[in-house]
C-alpha cells in the first residue's frame, strides 16, 4: 500500500493526479471513459465574470509533439457556472477547483468572491497567464507588479486555498513564484502554455485566427520541468506541475523536479482515460522502487 495523499495549502488531495483547466471540460465530458471521482482534483475551464464567446475559428493547430490553442476563455461566466454547472459536479469525490480568469483585477475579484460562497469549491486556480485574450490575461503573468496586485486583491476576496497559475513566457520564473508567494498564494501551478505561432505555408496565413496561441503537449515538457525545478528551489509553498504529461513516467519526473501534484492537459484529448493510467502508474512506481509515501518523491531529484 502506497500513501498517495498530498497536501496543497489547506487542502488534502487524495492523490497527486489532477486534470488541467481547459482540457477536461467540467469533468462530466469524461464520465464515459473513466471514473472521474478517482482524480485528486479537477481543474475546470477558465471562468470569467460574464459570458465570453472566445476567439473566432480556427482556434487550434497541431504542432510537432504538441498543439497550439487560442480558445480564449470561452465560458458562460461565473453566474452560469454557479447556477447550471456547479450543481452537476459538486458531488464528485474529487476536489473541484475553478480556474479564475479575467481582464481586470475587478473581474478576478468578482469571480473569486462568488466562488468563495460555494461550499464544494475548496480552492481556486488564479489564471494570470492566459495568452489568448487581448486585454489582461497574460499581462498579469508577465509583469511582476501586476501579478502581485491581482494575487493580493483576490487573496482578500477568497478565503480558501488559492493556487496561482504562472506563465512560462517570462525570463525568471522564480521571480514570479516568489512574488505571488509573498502576495498570499497558497500554492503555485505551472506551466500555462508557451506563446507560439503556426503558419500555413500554402495559404501564407497564420493557422489561428488570433495569429498567436498557446503551446501545450510533450513538446513543452523540458521547459515545464525546468520551471518546476526552478520554482521548487525558490519558494516554500507547494507546486502543481504540468506541461506535456503523457504517462506516469512524465508525471513522476514532475514530482521529482518538485511538484507536489500534477495536472494532465493535452494528453486527455488523445487518451481520455490517461489520468487513470498515470495514477496507477505512480502507485506502481512507488511500489517497485520502495516508496511507501509519494511525498518522499517530491523534489527528490538527485543533482
Amino acid at each position: 500500500m502506497v500513501d498517495l495523499a498530498v497536501q496543497i495549502g489547506n487542502l488534502k488531495f487524495k492523490n497527486p493526479v489532477s486534470t488541467a483547466s481547459g482540457c477536461f471540460g467540467y469533468g462530466y465530458e469524461y464520465e464515459d471513459f473513466m471514473d472521474v471521482n478517482r482524480l485528486g482534483a479537477i481543474f475546470v475551464k477558465g471562468t470569467t465574470g460574464s459570458n465570453r464567446e472566445g476567439n473566432p475559428y480556427p482556434r487550434m493547430a497541431e504542432t510537432p509533439s504538441g498543439m497550439l490553442n487560442s480558445v480564449g476563455l470561452q465560458n458562460k461566466g461565473v453566474d452560469y457556472f454557479i447556477s447550471d454547472i456547479y450543481p452537476k459536479i459538486k458531488d464528485y469525490d474529487s476536489h473541484i477547483i475553478v480556474n479564475v480568469s479575467g481582464s481586470t483585477i475587478e473581474e478576478y475579484v468578482e469571480v473569486a468572491e462568488k466562488l468563495n460562497e460555494l461550499e464544494k469549491i475548496p480552492a481556486i486556480e488564479l489564471n494570470i497567464s492566459c495568452p489568448n485574450v487581448k486585454e489582461g490575461g497574460m499581462v498579469f503573468g508577465t509583469h511582476c507588479p501586476s501579478a502581485i496586485e491581482v494575487t493580493r486583491s483576490v487573496r482578500k476576496a477568497f478565503a480558501k486555498t488559492m493556487i496561482v497559475k504562472l506563465s512560462p513566457n517570462v525570463t525568471s520564473i522564480h521571480e514570479f513564484a516568489k512574488a505571488v508567494e509573498g502576495a498570499g498564494a497558497d500554492a503555485i501551478s505551472l506551466i500555462n502554455t508557451l506563446l507560439g505561432i503556426a503558419i500555413n505555408a500554402k495559404t501564407r496565413k497564420p493557422v489561428l485566427s488570433t495569429v498567436t496561441g498557446g503551446l501545450s503537449g510533450p513538446a513543452v515538457k523540458p521547459v515545464a520541468l525546468r520551471m518546476v525545478w526552478q520554482a521548487y528551489h525558490s519558494v516554500k509553498i507547494p507546486i502543481v506541475g504540468m506541461g506535456g504529461i503523457m504517462n506516469a513516467t512524465d508525471a513522476i519526473e514532475f514530482i521529482l523536479a518538485g511538484a507536489t501534484a500534477v495536472q494532465i492537459g493535452t494528453a486527455n484529448f488523445i487518451d481520455p482515460a490517461v489520468s487513470m493510467k498515470v495514477l496507477d502508474g505512480i502507485e506502481s512506481y512507488c511500489l517497485e522502487n520502495g516508496f511507501s509515501d509519494v511525498n518522499d518523491l517530491i523534489g527528490a531529484l538527485e543533482t
Binding site: 481547459g22 482540457c23 477536461f24 471540460g25 465530458e29 469524461y30 464515459d32 471513459f33 475551464k45 464567446e53 472566445g54 473566432p56 475559428y57 480556427p58 482556434r59 487550434m60 493547430a61 497541431e62 504542432t63 510537432p64 509533439s65 504538441g66 498543439m67 490553442n69 480558445v71 470561452q74 503537449g217 493535452t266 486527455n268 484529448f269 488523445i270 487518451d271 481520455p272 482515460a273
Partner: protein
Amino acid sequence: MRKRVEDFTIINNRQVNSEYYILDIQSDDDLPELLPGQFAELRVDGSNTVFLRRPISFYDVDYNNRTISLLIQEVGKGTRQLAGAVPGDILNMIYPLGNSFSSEGVTRALLIGGGVGVAPLLFLGKTLKSNKVDVNFLLGFRNRDFLVDVDKFEACGNVFITTDDGTFGEKGTVLDHMLIKTGLKEYDKIYTCGPQVMMKAVALLAEKENTDCEASLENTMACGFGACLCCIQKTIHGNLRVCVEGPVFNTKEIIW
C-alpha cells in the same frame, strides 16, 4: 450513447482512386448503435509527426459483421499514414462522437454531397431508406475516377451525379445541376456534406425554397468529445462545438 475507446482490426483497405481509400474495420464485440452523421476519432500510429487523433465519419456500418467502413481522402500526413494500413493492423478509435442527422417526419429527401463529403451520406441514405423515406442523391465528383461506390448509393435511392469535367453524369458541380436550380422545393429535407462553399450555397438555396436543410460541418478538432472547445462553429446560439452540438447543424442556425 456511451462513448468508448476501442481497438478495431483492419480487415480490408480498398484504394478507390489516387486519393480515396476505404477502410473496413471490425470490432471484437457487438457494435453499439451508431447514427448517420456521427464520427470517430482515429489514432494514427506509426507517424512521428501526427500528434492528435483524426476525425472521420461513419461511411457504412454492418452490425452483423461488427464492421464499420470509413471513406478517407488522403490530404495530409495523418490520412497518408492510414492509407498504408493492411489487414490485421489495429486501429484505435474513440467513438461514437457527435450528434446525427435528424429525419423525423421526412418523406422525401435530397442528399447533396461533394467529394469525400459523400462519406456520411451513404450511411444516412441507408438509414433513411430503411425508414421508408424516398431517398435521392446528388453527388459531385472531380471526374469519373473519383466516383465512389455508386452501386451502394443506388441501392438506397435515385442517384444524380455531376463531375467537374463531365466525364460522368452532368458536367459541373452539384450547384450547376438542374435539381438544385429548380427542384429543391420538391423535397421536405435537404442534407448536405462537402466543401464549405458548396454547403453554404445549398443552404441558401434551400432557405430560399423554404426547405429544411442540415449540413455536416468540418472543423479542426483536438478532442472530439467536447472538452477542449477548439472546434467552434458560429451559430445563432453563439459559438457551438462541432464535435458535440454538431457536426450536423440545421443550416438556419449556422452563421457562415
